[in-house]
Every structure is written in structure tokens, then in C-alpha cells.
């Protein structure tokens, strides 16, 4: 599909810019972090926490891909769950903001880092708390893990209409493109064959995301998958679609400033 630029007229667009800058500073101060996926998933998280479709004081949000935590921390700070200045402690000794999502952080419901487990955990929650929705965020690369497919089959067996899996499909993982490493062709069709409902959206378009979330929430019998087509490193042109930016070390000063400059205009 053709990716459209995030619609600037949407009220969440300025937040998207601000939180990208927060992520850049968080990772730059720490001297490293998973920047590519944080930029690809941030709009999904913004939509989840700000569209009003779900209320995560009651519903559950499970980040399965724990390395995307800089994006989640930025959103939680905006939500007031953690002080914004605490973001700069990310990954440092003694910080509540660990290098992968942990229960030390207020607002984090599931500690993750080892991929492929969060959807199973979400399915367990969906069994035990049938009156609430469980939204899980996984990635395309994460679907290398066999456990994800075990969970997909399980959710179908138990007719988990209150379970939603959003897949951040940015096309890249640590070692290269998902196409080269382990192709996922026809991911939507695979979910359909496993008995899920599937919606494919532009993961940077807040209108589309909100619509998809509402549709997924309305499902009563079938677990719902939202395939969010995203751009890895979205917002910084030289990071986009470069798997080398999956996880960065300390950015050289000129690179940091160039990225900041671009994000300020995002």
C-alpha cells in the first residue's frame, strides 16, 4: 500500500512531533537505544492512549516488544504517569525506566524484552478479565517467534473477541529486512486463516488508526489483528528504512542535531 504522510490537520500531529523529540533525547542521553522501532510505533501508541477508544485504567495494554519502551515511556510521561524529566534517566543505573519495559515503571503492566511472549500473556488476561479489552503491541520481526503463532491459534480456540493485537510492521528487524530474514508475506491472510479479523492501516495516520481501533473493539467473537504499516525510523529521513537504526549507540553530535532539526519540522 502507499503510505500517506501523517495528516497534519489531526489534533494529535503536534504530539507526534513532541514525543519523537522526547524519544530522541531519551536515547541520546542514555547513549543508545532502540530508536527505529520507537519512531515506527509512536503514532500507534499515541492513538491508543489519546483516541479515547480504550481506557487503560481499566482496559489492558501489553507491550510485547519490550525494546519499544522509549516510545511507551514518552506516552506515559505525557499521560502524567511519570514525570517528563524522568525520561532522561532512561536505562541508567537505578532508573525506573529500564532498557526494556519493566514493572518498575508506573503504567507498565507487563515486563518484556524476550520477544513473542506478550500475545500469550494478553490471551491469559483476556480469559481472566472477559469484561475488558486487552490490546497487545507486537512487531513484524517478532513473528519469527513460534510462540506468537501458538498464541494466535489459542486466541481463536477461545473466541477471544476482547483481544486485539496490533502489529507494528516496519519491515525491519535487528539483522536486516524481515523479507530477507524470515518473510511474512500475506500476514493478513495468515491471521484470517487462523480465525482472526484483520484490518490493515497506515500506522502513521491517526484517522485510520482510530477507525481500526474502534472496529477491532466492536468484535465480539473473533480476536482482532490490526496490521499497522509503518516506516522504521519515521521522522528522520536518514534513519528511515535503515536497519542499522534498529538499535543505536551514542549518536555523534552532528547526527543528533540533524535528527533534531528534522523532527522539529515534522
Amino acid at each position: 500500500m502507499i503510505l500517506l504522510p501523517a495528516q497534519k490537520s489531526h489534533s494529535l500531529a503536534p504530539l507526534s512531533r513532541q514525543l519523537r523529540l522526547d524519544i530522541l533525547d531519551m536515547i541520546n542521553t542514555a547513549g543508545g537505544g532502540h530508536i527505529g522501532g520507537s519512531f515506527s510505533s509512536i503514532d500507534i501508541l499515541i492513538s491508543l492512549y489519546n483516541s479515547g477508544v480504550f481506557n487503560f485504567d481499566k482496559d489492558h495494554f501489553i507491550l510485547s516488544a519490550g525494546h519499544l519502551c522509549p516510545a511507551l515511556y514518552a506516552v506515559l510521561a505525557y499521560q502524567g504517569k511519570i514525570p517528563r524529566e524522568e525520561l532522561l534517566t532512561y536505562a541508567q543505573f537505578g532508573s525506573r525506566l529500564q532498557g526494556h519495559a519493566s514493572l518498575d515503571t508506573p503504567g507498565v503492566e507487563y515486563a518484556s524484552g524476550s520477544l513473542g511472549q506478550g500475545l500469550s500473556f494478553s490471551a491469559g488476561l483476556a480469559l481472566g478479565d472477559k469484561n475488558r479489552h486487552i490490546v497487545c503491541l507486537t512487531t513484524d520481526g517478532e513473528h519469527n517467534e513460534g510462540q506468537v503463532w501458538e498464541a494466535i491459534a489459542f486466541a481463536n480456540k477461545y473466541h477471544q473477541g476482547n483481544l486485539i493485537n496490533i502489529v507494528d510492521c516496519n519491515g525491519y528487524q535487528l539483522g536486516g529486512s524481515t523479507r530477507d530474514i524470515m518473510p511474512l508475506d500475506e500476514l493478513a491472510s495468515k491471521y484470517l486463516h487462523f480465525g482472526w479479523t484483520v484490518t490493515t492501516v497506515d500506522g502513521h495516520n491517526f484517522y485510520d488508526l482510530e477507525k481500526a481501533l474502534k472496529k477491532a473493539k466492536s468484535s465480539t467473537i473473533y480476536p482482532a489483528c490490526i496490521i499497522a504499516k509503518t516506516v522504521m525510523g519515521r521522522g528522520v529521513s536518514f534513519m528511515e528504512n535503515k536497519f542499522e537504526y534498529h538499535d543505536v549507540k551514542k549518536l555523534p553530535e552532528d547526527i543528533y542535531l540533524a535528527a533534531k532539526n528534522e523532527l522539529q519540522k515534522y
Partner: protein, 314 residues
């Protein structure tokens, strides 16, 4: 103890019956199962408590994290299959989704140890205690027999901490005195003696109650609470006897023997020490587990040799 009156009973059947009774009383008790229901005697549970018996099929990683998610909603969750599949195929899931996420799951590993006999090396789980002992917050238990199983299960079900429960396959002698109770972190002195302290867990220890051992003054201690381990009782006994024999149906690496050796050395006490266990090798099939115990050095004959060695050295 009169060996003539010793009755053989199945620990896993005692587990299933006790779990059923607990589920009658506790409507929040769930089983997350991994495809081995008939072998675990859980048919009755599954039939009576259909909505509380979650069948994941032979998908152990998913099951462990499903159990964790379920526990997050306030349920008491038992995760059940053969020990050779869980806690082993799903160890990293147990580490992250259960232990690191502070979820209270009771992992029950059936058919553990060489007593699974004919099934061979792939099914003789000999590393489970090592795998589970290593995990932060995980407690590890192995009942001596069916009597202790019945006493132990309600206490473990009630505990707020994650636990691993190790069960053997076959019916084994019931030795556990009815007047004794089970307490987490406590071991029981099954017979008092002055010459050698014998430490072990599970049915392998029941061999010590054969008439051949009557001539020795043995202090036999049941370490069914493997973690937390009752260091006080163990060290007190070793101070008295000065000799220690650890016996376990498990790899020597990472098992009770390692834990006890560390305990003794760290305490500064002096003691003669021998450790019987599977020595860095795989199991194999046998129709009778006695043949395996003899081959791997866990039989009464091997134990007597060790006792002689401990008693002869000065």
C-alpha cells in the same frame, strides 16, 4: 518403621485428587494444561470444572505466558504437563512472564527423573531442579511420597510465590509419617541417627527404609522444600554426624548436592561429603527403574558403598 507395612501409592494420582478437592473449595483455581491430560489423571478435573481447565495443546511456551496473564487477574493457576516439556521448553517464558513479572504460577512437572523408565532419555527430566533453582523468586518442591503430596499441595496452592512441583511417574512407597506436617522452607527428619546425615528428595529417599540399612545409624532428612532449603536443620545434623550423603534422581550438576555443598562450605563446618546423582550423562530406557538406579549409581547397593566409604575414612 516397619517396611512390611509400607504401601505403594501414586504421587501424581494423589496430586490430581487433592487438586480436585482444592478446586471444589476455590472457584478461582485454574489448570492451564499442555495436552497430556489423561497421563496426569486430570480428566475428572477437566470434566467437572470445564471453564477452569484451559487446554493449550502441546505448546508449552504459550501456555506458560497464558498462565501468567490469567494469574494477573487474580486466579490461582497450575501449569501442568511432563517435566521434560515444562519447565524446559518454556524456561525463558517462565523467567520473563512468570518470575520477572511477579506472577504466582504453580508449575507441575510430571514424570520427572529416571522413574519414567521405558520412555528413555528425552522424557527422563533430570535437569528441572537445576533450571528452577536458578530462577529468582521461584520456589522448588518435590514430595517424598503420596502422603506428603496431600499435605503439601494446599500449602503451595495458598502461597503467594511462584513454585515448581516435581512429581515422579510410578507408584512409590509411602513413608511420610502422618503426624508430620509440611512447611515451606522446612525439612523433616524421617529417622534420627548419629553416624551419617542422608539428604534427598522424592521417592529415591524411600530406598533407605529397606532392612539392609537398619544396621546403620542414619539421620535421614527429607528435603522436599528444595528452595527455600532448611539450612538450619541440615547444618545441625551435619554438626552431629560429621558425614553427609546427598542422593538425588537428577543431574549432580545444579541439584541438591551442589546446594548442600555450598551450604556446608559457607558455614565453615567440616564434614565428609558424598553425592549420588546422575553424573553428566543422559538417561535411557528400562522397563524397571531399579535397573536405571543401579546403572546411574542410585540403588541401595550404591548407597551402602557410599556409607561404607564415609564411615571408613578418618
Amino acid at each position: 518403621m516397619n517396611s512390611k507395612n509400607i504401601e505403594n501409592k501414586s504421587i501424581r494420582l494423589a496430586f490430581a485428587e487433592t487438586l480436585f478437592e482444592l478446586a471444589v473449595k476455590n472457584p478461582h483455581l485454574f489448570v492451564v494444561n499442555m495436552g497430556m491430560r489423561p497421563s496426569l489423571y486430570l480428566d475428572k478435573f477437566a470434566l467437572r470444572f470445564k471453564s477452569r481447565f484451559i487446554e493449550c495443546g502441546v505448546a508449552e511456551s504459550n501456555a506458560a505466558a497464558v498462565a501468567a496473564g490469567l494469574a494477573a487477574t487474580g486466579k490461582t493457576v497450575f501449569l501442568t504437563t511432563f517435566a521434560c516439556f515444562s519447565p524446559s521448553l518454556n524456561w525463558a517464558v517462565i523467567k520473563q512472564s512468570i518470575c520477572y513479572n511477579q506472577k504466582n504460577i504453580k508449575i507441575v512437572g510430571f514424570h520427572a527423573g529416571l522413574m519414567s523408565g521405558d520412555l528413555g532419555a528425552t522424557h527422563q527430566m533430570l535437569e528441572d531442579v537445576a533450571l528452577m533453582r536458578a530462577l529468582p523468586t521461584m520456589e522448588v518442591f518435590a514430595p517424598l511420597d503420596a502422603v506428603e503430596m496431600v499435605k503439601m499441595l494446599p500449602i503451595i496452592a495458598h502461597s503467594s510465590r511462584p513454585a515448581y512441583l516435581r512429581l515422579p511417574r510410578i507408584s512409590t512407597p509411602t513413608i511420610f509419617p502422618s503426624k508430620l506436617s509440611f512447611t515451606i522452607g522446612k525439612s523433616q527428619i524421617l529417622s534420627a541417627g548419629k553416624d551419617v546425615t542422608i539428604l534427598g528428595y522424592g521417592p529415591v529417599l524411600t530406598q533407605l527404609f529397606a532392612p539392609d540399612f537398619k544396621k546403620y545409624s542414619l539421620e535421614i532428612i527429607n528435603c522436599s522444600s528444595l528452595k527455600p532449603l532448611d539450612s538450619e536443620t541440615i547444618l545441625k545434623s551435619i554438626k552431629k554426624t560429621g558425614r553427609c550423603l546427598v542422593i538425588e534422581d537428577h543431574q549432580k550438576n545444579g541439584g541438591l548436592g551442589d546446594a548442600v555443598a555450598n551450604l556446608i562450605l559457607s558455614s565453615g563446618q567440616k564434614c565428609k561429603f558424598l553425592h549420588l546423582g546422575v553424573n553428566d550423562s543422559f538417561g535411557q530406557s528400562a522397563l524397571n527403574y531399579f535397573d536405571l538406579y543401579h546403572h546411574y549409581g542410585l540403588s541401595p547397593l550404591n548407597i551402602i558403598q557410599s556409607l561404607k566409604s564415609l564411615l571408613s575414612k578418618k
